[in-house]
C-alpha cells in the first residue's frame, strides 16, 4: 500500500530530473513467524525520495535512464523479515540504477540498493542486480535479472536468477 507524488520536473522534458516522493506501508503476512524469531514489528511505514531522468539521445544515440533515491526505512530484507524495533531507528539508505535501451522495447541495466541492516543478529548486505527487461507492448513487461542479495537471514553470499512477467491494464 503506498502513495507516490511527483514533486518537481519531468522525466523527459524537464531541464533537471523528475523528483518524486513515495510513502509505503507494508505489512508482513505471517506475524507468528516473526514473533518466533524475536522480530518486534510486522508492519511499518517508509519514506522514499527519488530523482529520475531519461535522456532520449544518450551515449550511442540510445535512451538512457538514470535513477537515484534515498529511503528512510527500518525494513529487514524489504520487510520479508519484519522491521526493526524502537521508534527512532529508521535509517537513510541510498539506491541507484542506470539503464539503457538498445531499442524502445528493451532495457538493460544495473541497480544497487543499500540495506539498513537494522536488526541485531540478522545481518543484511546491500543488494545488486543486472537486468534485462522487455516491453513487447504498453501492458506487458518481462524482466530477467541476476540478483546478489549477499547475506540473507544468516546464510551468506546469496545470489540467483530472477524472472518476472508483469501485466498492467
Amino acid at each position: 500500500l503506498g502513495a507516490k507524488v511527483r514533486l518537481y520536473g519531468d522525466l523527459v522534458y524537464g531541464k533537471g530530473p523528475q523528483i518524486s516522493a513515495t510513502i509505503t506501508h507494508k505489512q508482513h503476512q505471517d506475524e507468528g513467524a516473526l514473533v518466533a524469531l524475536g522480530i518486534p514489528r510486522h508492519d511499518d511505514t517508509e519514506l522514499q525520495v527519488a530523482a529520475t531522468k531519461l535522456w532520449v539521445n544518450g551515449p550511442g544515440n540510445r535512451f538512457w535512464l538514470l535513477h537515484g533515491g534515498l529511503r528512510y526505512s527500518r525494513a529487514a530484507q524489504l520487510g520479508f523479515l519484519g522491521y526493526g524495533g524502537a521508534s527512532t531507528d529508521r535509517k537513510w539508505t541510498a539506491e541507484a540504477a542506470v539503464a539503457f535501451f538498445p531499442t524502445r522495447e528493451i532495457a538493460i541495466g544495473t541497480e544497487y540498493r543499500q540495506m539498513p541492516d537494522i536488526i541485531p543478529g540478522i545481518p543484511e548486505d546491500d543488494w545488486k542486480d543486472i537486468f534485462v527487461a522487455w516491453f513487447p507492448n504498453k501492458h506487458i513487461n518481462i524482466t530477467g535479472a541476476w540478483v546478489d542479495t549477499g547475506n540473507v537471514a544468516g546464510v551468506g553470499d546469496q545470489d540467483g536468477w530472477y524472472l518476472s512477467l508483469q501485466g498492467s491494464w
Binding site: 532520449v56 544518450g58 551515449p59 550511442g60 544515440n61 540510445r62 535512451f63 545488486k128
Partner: protein, 139 residues
C-alpha cells in the same frame, strides 16, 4: 562479482561508441524525400488517432507537411531554412495538453518505424523535438 558489473557497463559504453554515427541527421533521415515521407506518414497517423485527430481537423495537410518537413530539414542539418511560425505561434489557441503531446510522439515513433528509420536516427530526431515541448503545450 564487481568485475561482472564493470564489464557489462563497459560493454554497453563501448557498443555505444561504435554505433555513434558521424553523418548529419538530415542524411540519416533520407534527406528531403525521406523527411517528407516521414511527415506524411505521421500526419496520416495523427488523423487516424482518435485521441488527437480533432487537433488536426482544420489542418491544411499539404501546407502542414511542407512546413514541418522544411523545419525538420533545417534542424537536422539539411540545406533548408525554416520559414514558418515559431512553435508558440503555430500552436497558439490550441491548448494542447501534456498527454496529447505524448500521443503525437507515440504516433511519430510508429511513423519512424514504418518508414524504417534506425533507432539512432529516431532518437536523434526525438532529441531535437524535446526542447519544443514547452512552447507547444498549453498555448
Amino acid at each position: 562479482m564487481r568485475n561482472m558489473f564493470g564489464t557489462v557497463l563497459l560493454l554497453s559504453l563501448l557498443t555505444g561508441c561504435q554505433t555513434t554515427p558521424t553523418g548529419s541527421l538530415y542524411e540519416a533521415l533520407g534527406k528531403d524525400e525521406g523527411i517528407e515521407r516521414l511527415v506524411r506518414e505521421v500526419t496520416q497517423l495523427a488523423h487516424e488517432d482518435e485521441r488527437i485527430a480533432f487537433l488536426f481537423e482544420e489542418t491544411e495537410d499539404e501546407f502542414f507537411i511542407m512546413t514541418l518537413s522544411e523545419q525538420i530539414c533545417d534542424i537536422s542539418g539539411g540545406p533548408c531554412t525554416y520559414q514558418g511560425l515559431n512553435m508558440r505561434e503555430a500552436h497558439s489557441g490550441m491548448g494542447i495538453t501534456h498527454a496529447e503531446f505524448n500521443y503525437f510522439v507515440e504516433d511519430l515513433e510508429i511513423a519512424m518505424d514504418n518508414v524504417g528509420l534506425s533507432t539512432s536516427a529516431q532518437n536523434r530526431l526525438l532529441d531535437l523535438l524535446v526542447p519544443m515541448f514547452e512552447d507547444v503545450i498549453h498555448q
